[in-house]
Structure formats: structure tokens, C-alpha cells
């Protein structure tokens, strides 16, 4: 039986009817056309689908849309106004933290989570916290540099 859900997505209230089998990632991509959140695997391992649910990075491919009823969702599209970049996005651009870009939305969302929870994150912490995000292109070196730089930018701009 389809259910009605109310949630906030990138600051806007959304009310929709969804089937219980609908994954949150499919709801975001297909119902709301927020296609910045990617699907890279079928096994909950790659992290390309990472979004924030009530401020916490989670894998949107492993959550049902109905489980997000009442929640506050932030996707890559909600990070900065049109034409501007969030400090973490700017750091990825500056440090060449992407090649094909497929994993990047998930990396940026996880990176912001790292900056919030570990404002003093060292390289080992960043690598450990990125365990749930896979990249097929970069070899991670520049992703780690970008997250470190983005964390510094975020900490500086918030203090």
C-alpha cells in the first residue's frame, strides 16, 4: 500500500505518496529529479549515494523513502546556491579531487560529515572515515587532500 510521507529536502517541505519498496535514492532521483545523488552499486558498499539525513551522512540506497518520513534531507544540490560552491566542493575542485566525478557527490557529503565530526581530522582519520566511499579513478590521494582542505575551510569559516 502506497503511503504519504512528509519530509524536508534541501530546506523545502515535500509531501508525496510513495510505495514502501521505493528506496530513498530513487525517490530523490526519480520523484524529485535530484540526480546529483548517484547509485554506484547494489551492495551498499560504494557510498556514491551518500546524503545527510538529520545531519548524519547515510547511504540513501539502503534506506526506504518511507523510513525518511519526518526527516530532514540534504543532498549535493542543497549545499550552495546556484552558481556557488560549498567550501568542500571548492576544495575538491582546487585539489583535483575527482576524475570522472561519479563518486564525487558521495565523497563531498561524507567529507562534510568528517569536517563536522572531526574539525581537527588528520590524514589517518580522513582515510578511516572514507572507508564507506569507493572511487574507481583517483587512487584517493587527492580526495584525502581535498577533504583535509575542505575541513580547514569549513572550520575557518565557522569559527
Amino acid at each position: 500500500m502506497a503511503l504519504s510521507i512528509n519530509l524536508t529536502v534541501n530546506g523545502e517541505a515535500v509531501t508525496k505518496t510513495v510505495e514502501p519498496t521505493c528506496l530513498l535514492v530513487d525517490f530523490l532521483r526519480d520523484d524529485l529529479q535530484l540526480t546529483g545523488t548517484h547509485v554506484g552499486c547494489d551492495t551498499s558498499q560504494c557510498g556514491a549515494c551518500t546524503i545527510h539525513l538529520d545531519g548524519q551522512p547515510v547511504k540513501a540506497c539502503t534506506i526506504l523513502a518511507v523510513q525518511a518520513d519526518g526527516a530532514e534531507i540534504l543532498t549535493i544540490e542543497g549545499l550552495a546556491p546556484e552558481g556557488e560552491l560549498h567550501p568542500m566542493q571548492a576544495a575538491f575542485a582546487q585539489h583535483h579531487g575527482l576524475q570522472c566525478g561519479f563518486c564525487t557527490p558521495g565523497m563531498v557529503m561524507t567529507g562534510i560529515g568528517i569536517a563536522r565530526q572531526h574539525p581537527d581530522a588528520d590524514e589517518a582519520t580522513i582515510r578511516r572515515e572514507l572507508e564507506g566511499n569507493l572511487c574507481r579513478c583517483t587512487g584517493y590521494q587527492n580526495i584525502v587532500k581535498a577533504v583535509a582542505a575542505g575541513t580547514r575551510l569549513m572550520t575557518d569559516s565557522e569559527s
Binding site: M1, L3, E19, P20, T21, L23, D42, T43, S44, Q45, G47, T50, Q56, P57, V58, K59, T62, I63, L64, V66, Q67, D69, T110, G113, E129, E131, G132, N133
Partner: protein, 265 residues
Amino acid sequence: MFRFDYHRATSLEDARAAFDAAEDGVFLAGGMTLIPTLKQRLAMPSDLVDLSGVEALRGITLEGDHVKIGAMVSHKDVAKSPNVRDAIPALAILAGDIGDPMVRARGTLGGSVANNDPAADYPGAVLGLGATIQTDRREILADDFFTAMFETALEDGELISSIRFPRPERAAYVKFHNPASRYAIAGVFVAQLGEKVRVAVTGAGPTVFRHREMEQALERTFAPDALEGIAVDAGPLNSDMHASADFRAHLVKVMAVRAVVQALK
């Protein structure tokens, strides 16, 4: 996914009622195992009963020399709990090394223990500490709980509400990670509880088990050298694309020695 209906329970009674009313219901905790299973069409429940709104399944409390953890407490919250870190640091470290940060934010103690994946970490701590599983109808001792691969003593519809862990004198958990999934290829939980020592092995066999010979040796002397002459029998251990039974047997010994060293720190 096959079609199913979804209910968000607001209390234990509500969860029970929704489960009983369903033709083939299943509880949904963090969904980190159940949702991948549904996506792969390996299960076809008629109804999902979401436990996330049941307040009674939350919370971590100190009860004398025990720590009681609600079934719906996430791995992340166990890892950062001051009570757990103080009373049973090995348990906090174990929880903080399950999967990845996103999995730890959603996955729960109750879901992991009910699922009894042979490669899961928590069964090691539950059996290694001799914890008690509280369900909606009875208490089950860890020694009676894990019956076979993905099988437990839980009856159909029986709900884990919390788990009580005794505070050990010392304990440690060391695992050899599967580099892709972070699950245990072999993990050993060692705990000294008064005169008794418990050694639980996860990841290596069809289900978590105790290694009595190591326990007796460590009861005589709690030191890494005490394990020197002990051979781990590869016979009952798992062989798969990740590791052979012989390699797992070797790893069990190495992890056990490391766990004792760690526990003595």
C-alpha cells in the same frame, strides 16, 4: 524488491500487534542487512515492521557491574558512549570498527545479533563476555543463543529488546578485516571475568563459537605465551573465496594472541 507493506511501530505492543497481523512479517531495525537482502530478492516478507520509533528499545544504562544496551542503539552510539567506553572499552572499539561510518550510523546491536551473520563482530562480544539477551518474552544466555549460521534461539516474532553485558576485568577484540566489506574473516574476543576467561571466535566458523582449550590455558596464565602450544582445528572452519579453512585456523590463533596482548595493555 518484491512488494511489501510498511508499518512504523510506536511501542513494543504496537510492534507485536503489527507483526501478528502480518502474514509473513519481519522487523526492520537499521536495515543495513535487511534492505540489501530485499534488494537482491533474497527475502519476500509481506510486511516490514519498523522498530525505529520504539523508545523502549533505545538507551544505554549502567546497572551495577553490567551495561545494558537497547536493541535499537546504533553501532555509532555504542562506539561513542562514555558508559561503554569506561566499563567495556573493547565493546566500544568493536562497534567503532564495524563496516564504515554510514553503516555504523544506521546499523543496530539488535539487528546484528538477531541476524547472526557468521562474519559479524557483535556475536563475538556477546558470546565472549557471556552477555544476556533480553527479549520481549524471556532472557537467553549467550551460550544458548547462537545456534547455527544465520540462526539463533529466537522464536518466530520474538523481539530482542536489550542486551546486558557484564563488565570484565579486561577484554579485547581483534579482527582480520575483509578488505572490501570490513567484516571479520576471523575475529577473536577475549575476556577475563573474575577467575573465568572466555574466548569467542567469529568470522571463522559457520557461527560464533568458544575455544575452550584457549580459555583453560588463559585461566591458568593470562598471557600471550599461554596460547603457544595450542593448535586451532581447521576441520569445522569455513572455506570460501576470501580465505581457506587452514588460513582461518592460522588467523584465529594470531588474532587470539593479539587480543590477549591488547587486553593486557
